[in-house]
């Protein structure tokens, strides 16, 4: 169709739309509601996954990690690695890496005067953990670790409750040292940290990196190096250069480290598409019905158009254009409303702290943040417009098939 006829169709479509303003508003409202709902549910689902992903990365995972090749399968002291070589340091200190830190991460048993529990001991470099993991700035009571040879220990708030201990008390850490002997040492609790999930608080205790190395008698050896880049995407080249720099170690991106999180994400993204279709079906039926009605009541007029020489493709074009205008208005307002809901009304997330124990059960944070991603919005908008046009194709073709004489004579 030429430009001129396109503008003619647009004018026709626009005017046809406002012959029955009430009807148009009703269907418009259905479309807006549908698009808004798609956006909100996408925002919620992606928000949940995104939150989980961020928590996972922040929960001592980072964007990539380096280990001894056997450490991940069997996190034991003999699978420690030596301090980073010159080549590896060059990559770690390059511009691609924003932060990195080395850690000791080994199983231990912690015993208070009354209770004992199995934990994971982390020997950390407090300065380097800033912004890299949650332990960078987590202490709710007492003080944080100050240096790598800090003599104190930091445990979870709820861990302290379980152990029936408090700041200032001593607890004993028991673990295996380099020679497979049981190494134990008393630590004074200097601070308590708080994490979103109870499981995290019960899982980790933190001491200075040097202190841990001394306790285990392993010199400068480490369990892992964790690093953060500018973006969690496109890590392949960095991981490859880490692998080249340290061929005898295992370098992995977070996707390889946490396959379950990736799986969750894929599951939700696939589910979203089904969900869009369900919502669309709810409003698509109304759209088809409305267009069908619009065509039906214009039988005479369409017959006249045809008698005057308008080709069937133009009739189809007319109905499709009318739908397209309707859809574009609906989608635009739906997007606006969706954006307003997620970024203004619910900008601080949905507070689920009344159900804190329930969110804990699902490993979820107690504040649900909604996340809008451009490609989700694009997906929704394209889907609605394409399916919407498809839904009005039936009324359009129906109209184009009217036989002029019959149509005109109809009352």
């Amino acid at each position: 169709m030429k430009g001129q006829s396109l503008s003619l169709l647009t004018t026709l479509g626009w005017r046809n739309l406002w012959r029955h303003p009430r009807r148009t508003f009703v269907i418009l409202f259905a479309i807006i509601l549908g698009v808004w709902f798609m956006i909100i549910s996408a925002g919620m689902m992606i928000g949940i996954v995104e939150q989980q992903l961020k928590d996972t990365i922040f929960n001592l995972t980072g964007h990539a990690q380096i280990h001894h090749k056997k450490f991940r399968d069997d996190p034991a002291i003999e699978h420690s690695m030596s301090a980073p070589s010159k080549e590896l340091l060059a990559v770690l200190n390059s511009n691609e890496v924003k932060k990195w830190s080395s850690r000791i991460r080994l199983p231990a048993v912690v015993t208070s005067e009354r209770e004992s529990r199995g934990v994971t001991l982390l020997g950390i470099d407090p300065a380097r953990e800033q912004g890299l993991s949650f332990i960078g700035k987590p202490v709710v009571a007492g003080r944080a670790l100050e240096s790598i040879d800090d003599k104190g220990i930091i445990i979870g708030r709820r861990m302290a409750e379980k152990l029936e201990t408090r700041i200032g008390k001593r607890i004993v850490l028991m673990m295996q040292d380099k020679n497979n002997e049981v190494a134990d040492r008393g630590f004074r609790i200097v601070g308590l940290y708080q994490a979103e999930l109870e499981a995290t608080e019960l899982a980790y205790v933190f001491v200075g990196l040097k202190t841990a190395q001394k306790l285990l008698d392993i010199g400068n050896e480490l369990s892992e190096i964790s690093l953060l880049t500018d973006s969690r995407k496109d890590l392949e080249s960095l991981v490859t250069s880490l692998r080249v720099a340290a061929p005898d170690l295992e370098s992995m991106s977070w996707q390889e480290l946490e396959p379950l999180v990736v799986l969750t994400m894929e599951f939700y993204e696939a589910f979203m598409i089904y969900w869009y279709f369900i919502i669309f079906a709810a409003m698509g039926i109304g759209l088809t019905n409305t267009m069908l009605m619009a065509v039906f009541e214009r039988t005479r007029e369409i017959g006249l158009f045809q008698a005057l020489g308008m080709r069937p493709s133009y009739i189809v074009g007319q109905v499709l254009m009318e739908t397209l205008i309707l859809l574009i208005i609906g989608v635009a307002l739906g997007n606006l409303l969706g954006w307003f809901t997620t970024d203004v009304i619910l900008a601080n997330g949905i507070d689920l702290s009344a159900f804190a124990k329930g969110t804990e059960q699902f490993n979820m944070s107690s504040t649900m943040m909604l996340t809008l991603r451009t490609n989700d919005l694009m997906q929704i908008n394209i889907l609605v417009i394409l399916l919407g046009l498809l839904a009005s194709l039936y009324p359009a073709i129906k109209a184009a098939r009217y036989i002029p004489v019959e149509a005109i004579t109809r009352t």
Partner: protein, 412 residues
């Protein structure tokens, strides 16, 4: 058939296509609703039952305070005789077992890990926990005083243990003494819950009592009933049964796993909000049809008014029409929806990839969901739609009262 009913029915078929499309929209949302609610509730059933059956049971008898602080000293005296007196006393109980729990350091040749060790009655544990049935290598514990241990798969891997290897237990006894033993691993289980597989081991109850100097005491008596629905009956029966023991209390699963109930609440609330919005979209979608079927007949109404029909009668006719239309959609949707749900109920629904997800959420085996077949679940959706569409129909109907016969007849 009364004249009004006949009129309404005929009016409905004056525009077949529109009627079918509207009925289709209603049928579609009915299918969704009829399917949705039973599947949602079915999923809760699976979730609760699977989680409770792994280990916690439907209810537990404990000493007051044990749930919050699981101290080895806080024991039930003569636990086994109490359990024996409960067994068979009420058909509500389908499984009862006695447990004692402690924390130990498990060591194999070169490795040590902290772990939970549970003393169980091998003969009865199968009735209250799914772990005995999930031994993947070797076998479960043989007798109540056998010198043997079964451990979780991840724990076995971390300790580098195979069936037949020996493992050392080191912990603190009830009297504060050192509790130590060396036991052969006879089985390795995989429960589906990461936490259990990593931190859990079981030994026979009497062996536990010997090692931890517990005498004849234990920590919990676990009771499993027929289903979660009979929870209230189960709890009151238990409370009656232990009324002569002032030293123990009964805790239901809501108290044992407080997170579960809230998790379901969140899901239920959000599920209903989502459904509500979806229904709103459907209603706006079909509102136009109702609107049009009335607006296009302005002339006809004018004529009816002029011939002496009262607006009330016309409104009644319209109400009947929309009720009939809704019923057509509801019946179609209900039949299809029920058939689908029934099929799913028999076959079980399977989502690919859900096992891994369930494991991450600490939910054991959720791979098949059997929708809950209950009258309420089925009728909830259709009733909502019926009410909603009839309210929607009111909007155009209200216009009829304002119609002036002469003017109305002039409109095209």
């Amino acid at each position: 058939m009364s004249i009004v009913l006949r009129l309404a029915w005929r009016n409905l078929w004056r525009n077949r296509r529109r009627t079918w499309l509207t009925a289709g929209a209603i049928a579609f949302s009915t299918i969704l609703l009829v399917g949705w609610v039973p599947i949602q509730f079915g999923a809760y059933d699976i979730m609760i039952n699977a989680t409770l059956r792994v280990f916690p049971g439907h209810a537990q008898i404990q000493r007051p305070g044990y749930q919050d602080k699981q101290k080895i000293r806080n024991t039930i005296n003569n636990a086994e005789s109490l359990a024996t007196s409960l067994r068979g006393s009420n058909p509500l109980y389908t499984g009862i077992s006695v447990r004692a729990q402690g924390f130990v350091l498990l060591s194999s040749g070169t490795r040590s890990y902290g772990a939970q060790v549970v003393g169980v009655e091998p003969k009865h544990e199968g009735g209250t926990s799914s772990i005995p049935g999930q031994v993947k290598e070797g076998r479960y514990l043989s007798s109540i005083d056998a010198q043997e241990i079964v451990i979780g798969r991840a724990l076995a891997r971390n300790l580098k243990l195979k069936v037949g290897d020996e493992v050392t237990l080191l912990g603190g006894g009830k009297d504060g003494s050192v509790a130590a033993a060396i036991l052969p691993v006879v089985g390795i289980f995989k429960s589906g819950s990461n936490d259990l597989d990593r931190f859990f081991s079981e030994i026979p109850l009497h062996t536990f009592q010997n090692i931890f100097s517990m005498g004849s005491s234990a920590h919990t008596i676990v009771i499993v009933g027929k289903s979660v629905d009979e929870q209230t009956k189960l709890i009151s029966a238990l409370n009656n049964a232990i009324s002569d023991r002032s030293d123990v209390i009964v805790l239901g699963w809501e108290a044992l796993i407080p997170g579960m109930k809230e998790a379901i609440k969140i899901d239920k609330v959000s599920g209903f909000i989502f459904l509500g919005i979806l229904i709103a979209i459907v209603i706006f979608s079909i509102l136009n049809t109702f609107l049009m079927s009335i607006l296009e007949r302005t002339r006809e109404f004018g004529l009816m008014l002029a011939l002496g029909s009262r607006p009330k009668r016309i409104a009644g006719l319209m109400m009947l029409e929309s009720a009939l239309l809704t019923m057509i959609g509801l019946v179609i949707g209900f039949v299809i929806g029920t058939a689908l749900v029934y099929w799913a109920h028999v076959e079980g629904m399977h989502y690919p990839g859900v096992e891994e997800l369930a494991e991450q959420f600490n939910l054991p085996d959720m791979s098949r969901i059997y929708p809950q077949m209950k009258i309420f679940n089925f009728l909830l959706g259709p009733i909502t739609i019926f009410v909603a569409t009839n309210i929607a129909a009111w909007i155009p109907i209200l216009r009829i009262r304002k119609l002036e016969p002469v003017e109305a007849m002039r409109t095209i």
